[in-house]
């Protein structure tokens, strides 16, 4: 019987491991032969047997996402051997904190303008009525320019950011809190993700 591998090329994992790629190879669906670096990275960081164990604990429809996230983490770890993915999380958390401060500032500014707009609207109605009553003649104060009332004051925000400048230890502490909440950070396009605890007998 002709070997099935003669018509299909071995997956990247089996090529790397220099072994025959069986039809039921657990790696084959996720490590195509045209992406050798993907498996090389995953193997270097996690090891083939650990990846096999991880995949075997998941349902088949979860494995592609799992492999891709492992490949991402492996890539990050190889780029940054000290912090890996955690370094990226640190940066993003910092960025998010800054943006949240910016948003808070913008909302505060908007509400001030909204309040001022209401006051000015009433004032302008009052002035127009006076002008109309006086036949459009002179008198009346110079028109207020809105911007002078609420100059952008972001100095205190920059101070807050400076005070929050963190070292890796404090950021990791913060992330320990996030880790305990990690169960919330599911990205599960599939509705039956809760069934992942079922061990696949295969």
């Amino acid at each position: 019987m002709a070997s099935s591998t003669s018509s299909t090329s071995p997956c990247a994992a089996c090529k790397f491991l220099r072994r025959k790629c069986q039809p039921e190879c657990v790696f084959a669906p996720y490590f195509p032969p045209d992406q050798p670096q993907k498996f090389a990275n995953v193997h270097k960081v996690f090891g083939a047997s650990n990846v096999t164990k991880l995949l075997n604990e998941l349902l088949p429809h979860q494995r592609e996402d799992a492999v891709n996230s492992l490949a991402y983490e492996a890539d990050m770890r190889l780029r940054d051997p000290v912090y890996g993915c955690v370094g990226v999380i640190s940066l993003l958390q910092h960025q998010l904190r800054q943006l949240q401060l910016d948003l808070s500032c913008a909302k505060s500014e908007l509400s001030k303008y909204q309040n001022l707009g209401l006051i000015n609207h009433h004032q302008n109605l009052g002035i127009n009525n006076l002008i109309a009553a006086a036949g459009g003649g002179g008198g009346g104060a110079a028109h207020h320019h809105h911007h002078q009332f609420f100059p952008r004051d972001r100095h205190h925000h920059h101070q807050a950011i400076a005070m929050n400048s963190y070292d890796a230890a404090s950021s990791l502490l913060a992330m320990n809190v996030s880790a305990s909440l990690g169960g919330q950070f599911h990205h599960t396009p599939r509705a039956d993700d809760r069934s992942r605890n079922i061990i696949d007998p295969s």
Binding site: L58, S69, E73, R77, V82, Y83, Q93, L99, N124, H146
Partner: protein, 145 residues
């Protein structure tokens, strides 16, 4: 030379081996926290962790161990997405907040434009005033000539 059995590090205890004096794991996996090594070993394997630590300067190994532990913990809690799931979530949060900032700034702009429109009736008064000022200026110029 190895550490006495009673003072083996968590890694060597887990791996049931002697703990040498120069054990690569010993400074970062103390015996009083066995779960730490258990998690890291489960995801990465002792050999991979050892190789990774060996390749790093000593001053960086403590931070590296912390981040490996954190990633292992994330992967155990979320076997499908692990830490990558948190990255994804943060990126989405950033995108959402950026959108909200843009929306708020647009509202501020709309609001400012609408308040300028409300003030238009006064510009007629302002122009009248300016013309009056100009006339006064011209009047003053003539005697000087």
């Amino acid at each position: 030379m190895s550490n006495p059995i009673s003072s083996r590090c968590a890694a060597c205890k887990y791996l049931r081996r002697r703990c040498p004096q120069d054990c690569i794991f010993s400074p970062y996996f103390p015996s009083n926290d066995p779960q730490r090594f258990a998690y890291v070993h489960r995801i990465y394997g002792a050999s991979n962790v050892g190789k990774l630590l060996q390749q790093l300067p000593e001053r960086a190994r403590s931070e590296a161990t912390e981040s490996l532990y954190y990633e292992a913990l994330c992967r155990i809690q979320d076997p499908v997405y692990g830490c990558a799931g948190i990255v994804s979530w943060l990126q989405q949060q950033i995108h959402d907040v950026e959108s909200e900032i843009a929306k708020t700034q647009a509202e501020i702009t709309v609001f400012l434009n609408s308040t300028v429109n409300i003030s238009e009736p006064n510009t007629q008064y302002s122009r009248t005033n300016e013309q009056g000022m100009e006339n006064l200026t011209n009047k003053h110029k003539e005697p000087l000539q």
